[in-house]
């Protein structure tokens, strides 16, 4: 029976959240305008209204999760994003697999942030919460799911399956509930996908806070005071957003098989660009606090950050990217709404800023080359140009849409080789940044003139040249471009380490945020350079096959075909594919798939044999996501097994075939990264013509290419899975088949009952053979075997060595630590002022 209550409840909460956000905006506007006598009561009402909104927004999330958690497949969202086989933590991923769920997540974070802002501010609450409530109104409208005539506002996650699809089954039985959902995209079945989206959306959501403070400042004509409360939030936002981006990169590295952590895909770019602008904004804001310049720049950058987040949302969710991106959301028909959302805040922000522009204090004096402001400004400019360089080509699909909407024709496409195109700019910008952070930090902490500059820089410079020389020689960096990168990155690491040491000696750790973040940047740069520039595909096809056409011989084949048990040379390793495995609940290692037989129930199998101490023949076992196959690949060096890797693949018909996740061997100085690019079709083998062999016990013969020993036959008293009756005769033949270093025993059975013959063949899917004991010829003491073949099991694999990738991960962690230190420092400053009653 369909449960319509929970969906209706969720939908009701959506409407309540929408209405209450508008009420809150109005109430806070009245509070903002009210005189001292009425302020208190308006404030009370506004807060009450916002708390109503908070509760209803939270209940939207609760309702949706309830639908997923209790497998209510009468709902479209649960049906299309989850399934019964999912463990709870992947149900959480299902929650935000769809656009609506991601919006709900965003709405929820804004609620959390809003409550935090209300409770940490005295002075800014009114105007900041007006902006907050308006943003909430727009976001909630995206999941309203109200249809008025042809106008559709929002897409509701609480829609029933029967209303979402045209399936004929619902005409026969409107109360039909599917047995199971279509499942969660296997690529999202990863622990990083449980935590990456919430982090990223918290990052997205938190960009609103500095923007809201700025709008408040412009509304209240306090053109510079907004910086102090906004700064810790801006750094928080950059920290979280940065963490979200890195988690996404790491997820891509361990889950997707495009061979890396960053692909310059439009969706990645859409997040990277606001982050760059936000980091630039933080720098100009800090400069303003120190020396009252760069206020106008800060205002522009903070507005840009927020608008770029909205623009990113538009790109990813409107369907405008179409063919350009491999993983943008599908079009829900919200593009108009998203566009209005973005333009609304753009117009309001530009209007308020323009109105205030001539009143905003700016310093008239020219910044000297020996001033810190100058260097920070150049740095912020570089970040801005980096952002511009990425967002421009990423917007090509938008440009095409725009031209076509005016009736023109535009067939521009994104650059064919995105990685090469973006890298050639971003690399040099990053080098400039590294140099600026090295020099700029010295300017920041002490007064400079020509002489002191020389004296200060000469030591770090010499040290970093020496260290770079070491790196270049030891790691064999002989490309001039990479040599420059090593120099610049080492320089910023050394220079900032000097500063860090000084800070720790003279003052407190609290001031160390900047130097830490810059050290992290330098390390990340070195890690990126090595892992990308020196990544080495070792799975070059050495099969020596020549092709029928000359042009094909020139192409490098970057995958190897591994037949099961057959050792294959791959650069320094000899690799052997050893077969498929499954993950079994309670067993700490992967279990060979051939030992398991599915029972037909979800994630359940019967053990066909004993396996170590974990289970015995006939046990019923629970599998972890039974569609997942883990391919055991053994790596040998000098005949010795070094390690095994288990890249995963899932054959998922509803998602369309093979979905692969890599597995890597992680060393201190490199990763060996492998993934399966193609695999055997295990579903319906295409048996070839049968071959007949006759053999006497003890004889040796060849089945296909396999050396086979016929050891003899036994009369059986009982047979597995088959009830013998009085007078039956059952004979089992024992064949030993050799495949490289593996010996397999296959035992086909032959049963005689009342002059009738039954044959139980054996199938070995790894060798791709089916053997039937077809007849027994007692006169000749011969046994007749019928053999059918299809192809042996195989995988096609790619393997890449990525040197020093750990330097990148460590660098990003240090960078985020630096941000975190800075958040505390800036929040302390704000708190001191607030508690003095000044702000």
């Amino acid at each position: 029976m369909i449960n319509t209550f929970i969906g209706n409840f969720g939908h009701l909460m959506t409407i309540v959240a929408f209405v209450s956000s508008l009420v809150t905006a109005y109430a806070y506007y009245q509070y903002f305008r009210a005189n001292e006598l009425e302020k208190a009561s308006w404030r009370k009402f506004s807060r009450f209204s916002f708390y109503i909104h908070s509760v209803s927004a939270t209940l939207i999330a609760v309702s949706l999760f309830e639908i997923i958690y209790n497998h209510r497949y009468e709902y479209f969202y649960a049906y299309s994003h989850s399934s019964k086989a999912l463990p709870v933590h992947y149900m959480i991923s299902s929650f935000w697999e769809g656009q609506e769920g991601a919006f709900i997540l965003w709405i929820f974070w804004n609620v959390v942030l809003g409550i935090t802002v209300i409770n940490t501010n005295k002075f800014w609450e009114g105007p900041v919460m007006i902006v907050f409530s308006l943003v909430q109104a727009f976001l909630v409208s995206m999941i309203l799911g109200v249809v008025i005539g042809d106008l559709k506002i929002g897409s509701s996650p609480f829609i029933l399956l029967r209303d979402a699809t045209q399936a004929p089954i619902f005409q026969m039985n409107p109360d039909f509930v599917p047995e199971d959902g279509t499942g969660l995209n296997p690529l999202l079945q990863n622990i990083w996908m449980v935590i990456h989206p919430p982090t990223l959306f918290l990052g997205y959501a938190s960009t609103l806070v500095p923007f809201a403070f700025l709008m408040g400042g412009l509304m209240m004509k306090r053109y510079s005071e907004w910086i102090r409360p906004a700064l810790p939030w801006a750094i928080f936002s950059a920290m979280i957003l940065g963490m979200g981006i890195i988690m996404g990169a790491y997820w891509a590295y361990v889950t997707l098989n495009f061979g890396g952590y960053w692909n310059w895909d439009p969706v990645e770019n859409a997040v990277y660009v606001p982050w760059l602008v936000l980091v630039a904004a933080i720098h100009t804001m800090i400069t303003f606090k120190k020396s009252a310049t760069a206020l106008k720049t800060s205002i522009v950058l903070v507005i840009m950050t927020f608008i770029l987040v909205l623009y990113a949302t538009f790109l990813v969710r409107s369907g405008v990217l179409g063919d350009a991106s491999v993983h943008s959301f599908t079009d829900l028909g919200l593009s108009g709404q998203l566009l209005i959302y973005m333009l609304f805040f753009l117009v309001v922000a530009v209007f308020l800023a323009a109105r205030a522009w001539k009143h905003i204090p700016s310093s008239e004096k020219e910044a000297s080359v020996y001033s810190r402001e100058f260097w920070v400004f150049i740095g912020a400019t570089t970040l801005g140009l980096m952002a511009f360089q990425v967002i421009l080509p990423t917007s090509i699909p938008v440009w095409n849409t725009l031209v076509e909407s005016f009736g023109g024709i535009s067939n521009m496409a994104p650059p064919a080789d995105q990685i090469e195109f973006y890298t050639k700019f971003q690399l040099w910008f990053a080098v400039v940044l590294a140099l600026l952070t090295a020099v700029g930090q010295f300017f920041w902490w002490q007064k400079m003139d020509k002489q002191t500059l020389k004296n200060t820089l000469v030591t770090p410079y010499i040290v970093s040249v020496l260290i770079s020389a070491g790196i270049i020689v030891l790691a064999k960096v002989y490309d001039w471009k990479y040599i420059i990168i090593v120099l610049a990155a080492t320089f910023t690491i050394v220079a900032n380490s000097v500063i860090l040491a000084k800070i720790l000696k003279k003052s407190t750790f609290k001031l160390a945020g900047g130097s830490l973040a810059h050290i992290g940047l330098g390390m990340a740069l070195i890690g990126i350079m090595f892992s990308s520039g020196y990544s080495d595909v070792i799975s070059i096809n050495m099969s020596g096959l020549t092709y029928s056409n000359s042009w094909e011989d020139e192409l490098n084949k970057e995958h190897v075909l591994l037949w099961i048990n057959k050792p294959t040379q791959m650069k320094d390793y000899t690799v052997t594919y050893r077969g498929r495995q499954k993950k079994v609940v309670g067993v700490p290692e992967y279990v060979p798939a051939k030992l398991l037989e599915s029972t037909g129930n979800v994630n359940e199998a019967i053990a066909l044999e004993d396996y170590k101490n974990y289970f015995q023949h006939g046990d019923t076992l629970d599998l972890v996501l039974e569609e997942n196959d883990y391919f055991k690949i053994d790596y040998y060096q000098n005949e010795k097994l070094q390690f095994s890797l288990n890249p995963m693949s899932q054959f998922n018909s509803s998602m369309g075939g093979l979905i692969s996740s890599p597995d890597s061997k992680i060393y201190l100085d490199k990763d060996l990264y492998t993934y399966v690019a193609a695999m055997n079709d295990y579903e319906d083998p295409d048996w070839k013509e049968e071959e007949i062999y006759e053999a006497a016990p003890g004889e040796q013969f060849h089945v296909a290419d396999f050396v086979t020993y016929f050891d003899g036959a036994d009369v059986m008293e009982e047979i597995d899975g088959y009830v013998l009756q009085e007078g039956d005769v059952a004979v089992k033949a024992k064949l030993r088949i050799l495949d490289y270093d593996v010996e397999k025993v296959l035992e086909p059975t032959f049963i005689i009952r009342n002059n009738q013959v039954g044959k139980i063949p054996v199938i070995d899917s790894e060798l791709g053979i089916k053997i039937t004991l077809d007849n027994i010829l007692p006169m000749e003491n011969k046994f007749v075997f019928k053999v059918n073949q299809y192809q042996k099991d195989y995988v096609v694999m790619k393997a890449i060595v990525k040197p020093y990738i750990n330097v990148l991960w460590i660098g990003t962690i240090i960078m985020l630590t630096g941000f975190t230190v800075a958040i505390f420092r800036r929040f302390d400053e704000f708190k001191k002022m607030r508690d003095k009653g000044l702000e």
Binding site: A167, F170, L392, P393, A416, L545, G657
Partner: protein
């Protein structure tokens, strides 16, 4: 000439370089016939061609030819003008290749007979448009 002006001019210069290279390096969507013309004129820029896999009456993909070592394959793509073209891709067959609604190939003609794809983008039937509910457990 103030320093601010010099910096301003510098920024504008870099921005112009960025815009010019973005336009210069941008690829374009072509049909196979225009792509072939480009090749004949000696233009080896990689371009995008949007098309669909060739299918027979029964709706099965035809012309898919996987090499023996399974690490590359050729297929027949029909572009929006209806031109059929054999395309070579130096990678194993992507997972949901045969189910794709439309395929974008990025590459160029190698000879006049064969188009080499450096990259393939697939647009797959979205789960949001699925209209057949599997009547499981009926």
């Amino acid at each position: 000439m103030k320093k601010g002006h010099i910096i301003g001019i510098g920024i504008i210069a870099v921005a112009i370089v960025i815009i010019m290279t973005s336009i210069g390096d941008a690829s374009s969507y072509e049909s196979f016939s225009t792509a072939l013309e480009m090749k004949q004129e000696g233009d080896d820029q990689p371009i995008h061609v949007v098309g669909q896999l060739k299918k027979n009456q029964a709706g099965e993909v035809t012309g898919l030819n996987v090499r023996d070592d399974k690490t590359s394959f050729t297929f027949v793509l029909v572009d929006n003008d209806g031109t059929e073209q054999e395309v070579f891709y130096n990678e194993p067959v992507p997972a949901d290749f045969t189910r794709s609604e439309s395929v974008v190939v990025i590459g160029q003609y190698k000879t006049e007979e064969i188009f080499i794809a450096d990259k393939i983008l697939m647009k797959c039937p979205s789960k949001y448009q699925e209209t057949d509910v599997q009547a499981a457990g009926m």
